[in-house]
Amino acid sequence: MNKNRGLFFTIDGLFALIFITILLFSFNMSTTTNTDKDLEKIIITSRISDLLITSQLLEIDNLKDLEKNYNKLFENKGYVKIDSKLKEINSKSKNENQLISQSIKYINSSNKVIYIEIGVYY
């Protein structure tokens, strides 16, 4: 009889161990990074770089042109800044609360330093 009781306790103990293992496994799964969001970040960063590089190549120094180019490439809300002038760009898309921004400084053909900053919400 004692032998049987011991057997039941062993089985119960094994189940408890399996249960704990599965719980730990679930916690590990939930802490893994969200690759969808990471990929979105990579894509947005590369598009901002595109806008900055093209702005330097074309020597863009006015907000109107930069905004026009921004709208061709992005549907997200964001802003463009040239030197101290800033222009907010709104969009219909919602749930954008995180920001990625990049800036560049270049010297144009008239030897003037131009600072451009672009920010995109996602």
Binding site: F15, I22, M29, L39, L51, L57, N69, K72
Partner: protein, 140 residues
């Protein structure tokens, strides 16, 4: 007296087996859910990796002089994001999944017959001293 004792022992055993069964069902359910979630996660990750691979292909197109990028004659380096329409056959030969290439809505490569476009990747470039958007379509 012995009958009552045996009956209570049987009840305890049945209760134990029942609890064991419930735990078993619960564990199997959790395991199935976890496996399903893991499978979905792997599928999503694979999709993301494939998209990233396509992003890299487009990056190569606009940075490599072997494809669309322009060679800066003074520095002898490839200018990133400054492109000219060239080496189109090389592009279609080396990247067979590319079936569409548009520069500012003008189709440069179009090979979409009996094919479904899965992804279109948009990038900003300079072509003929003008800001343009290139769209690269990938088909299966």
């Amino acid at each position: 007296m012995t009958l009552v004792l045996r009956s209570s022992k049987a009840q305890v055993m049945i209760l134990d087996i029942l609890i064991l069964l419930i735990i078993c069902i619960l564990l199997i359910n959790i395991e199935f859910q976890e496996i399903y979630n893991y499978k979905t996660k792997i599928e999503n990750d694979t999709k993301d990796i494939k998209l990233l691979e396509k992003e890299m292909v487009v990056e190569q197109l606009i940075t490599d002089c072997k494809y669309l990028a322009t060679l800066n004659k003074t520095t002898n380096l490839c200018s990133k994001n400054k492109i000219e329409i060239k080496n189109l056959t090389q592009i279609t030969n080396n990247f067979q999944k590319i079936c569409l290439l548009k520069i500012d809505s003008k189709e440069v490569i179009k090979n979409t017959q009996n094919k479904i476009i899965i992804n279109i990747i948009k990038r900003a470039v300079v072509n003929n001293n003008d800001f343009k958007i290139i769209e690269v379509g990938f088909c299966e």
